[in-house]
Subunit: 112 residues, 4 copies
C-alpha cells in the first residue's frame, strides 16, 4: 500500500510566505514519510494513511498566522505498491520522453 | 477560532460512487463538527483543527476501494470566529442578492 | 453530458476577501452556467467544458489583487447527464437522511 | 507577472491512468508554458493567465474517458516576477537545506 499526497500549506499574508512554508516542510521530518517540495506544494509518500494525516496536521499547525489555507490531495492506492517515482516513470514511458519541457526551453535563445 | 473545510472523498471506480460517498458522510457523525454535502464535496465546520483532521481521516478510511482519492481544502481562521454561514452572507451582502442563479434559471421556460 | 465543478477564487489579502469574491461570483452571470456559492467556493454546472473554463477564467480575472489564488475542481461526466442536485440526492438516498447535521445541531441547547 | 499552477487530470478508471495522463501532458506542448510533472500533477508556469487556462483546458480535453476528474490550483502573482524555481529556492533558503528527504532515505539500509 502506498499513499501519495500533495500538501500545500500557506499563511494568508501579503508578504513572502516562504519562511512559514519552510516551517511546514520542516515539521514533516518528525514523521515516517518521504517528501519533496515543488513550486505548488510538497509531494508526500507514506506507507500508512494515519502517518500521512498526522504529518499533514503537524505541517498545518507549524505555520503561524491569523489565517492559514491548506490543501491536501491524496492518492491512496490500497492494493498495489506503486511509488511516487514509479507514477511519473509510467507517464514518461507512454510519452517516450521526460515529462517536462524545462530543459529544452532553458537552451532556447531569449526572444529578441 | 473557526476551521472551515471542503472534503471530497471518492473511490476510483467506474460505476456510481454515491454509496461509498454516503459512508464517508456518515463517518463525520462521530465527530464534533457541522457538515453539509454539496455536489462537489462536504463543507465541514469545526472549532478545533485536530477534530477536523480526525473527521477527515475517518471519512477517508470509511470508503472502501482499491484506490481512494481525497481532497481536503482548509480555511483556518485562528483569530476570528466567522461561521461558514457568515462567509456566504458576507459575499451576498456585497452582491446585494443571493450568491446563486439556480432559482432564476428554474423559472425560465426550456429553450425550444 | 454535465460538467460540475467547484471554483474558489481568493485574493491573498489579510483583510476580508468577500468583496472580491463577490466580483468573481458576479462574473459568472455572463456565462451559460448554473452556480451556487457555499462557504468553501462556488459549485458551477455547465453543459459545455469550454463554457466552464471560460467562466472560471472570467471569475479569476474579475478579482483584483497583487496575488490571487484559485482552485478549480472539475467532475466531467461525458456519457451521462447527472445534475449537480442529483449527485447529492443519490448520496442522501444511501444515507436515508439529508446529507447534513446543521439542522439538528441548531435545535440543540448551547453547551453550558 | 508569473502564473504558476498545479494541474492534475485523471480519467476515472480502475486500471492504470498513465497512458491518458501522458496525453494530457503532451497537450501542453502546443502552448507557451513551461511544465514539469511530479507524482501528484504537473506544475505549469506561464506569463499569461489566458495561456494557462487554454493549456489546462486542452490537457483536460486530451484525456479520453466517460468521467474525467481535473484539479487546477493557480498561484497568480500579478505584481512580481517570481519563477517556479525561485519559489522552491526561497523555501530552501529558510530551511538551510534541500526541501526533500528523498536522498537521505535512499542511503538508509532497509529495515530488517
Amino acid at each position: 500500500m502506498t499513499v501519495i499526497a500533495l500538501l500545500s500549506v500557506a499563511p494568508v499574508i501579503e508578504g513572502s510566505m516562504s519562511g512559514e512554508v519552510a516551517k511546514a516542510v520542516d515539521a514533516l521530518e518528525a514523521y515516517d514519510v518521504e517528501y519533496e517540495t515543488n513550486p505548488m506544494g510538497t509531494v508526500i509518500e507514506a506507507n500508512d494513511i494515519g502517518e500521512l494525516f498526522a504529518a499533514a496536521q503537524a505541517a498545518h499547525e507549524a505555520v503561524d498566522g491569523d489565517r492559514v489555507s491548506t490543501v491536501l490531495k491524496i492518492d491512496d492506492k490500497r492494493s498495489r505498491d506503486v511509488s511516487a517515482e514509479q507514477k511519473v516513470e509510467a507517464v514518461e514511458e507512454h510519452l517516450g520522453r521526460p515529462a517536462t519541457n524545462r530543459d529544452e526551453r532553458e537552451d532556447e535563445p531569449e526572444a529578441e
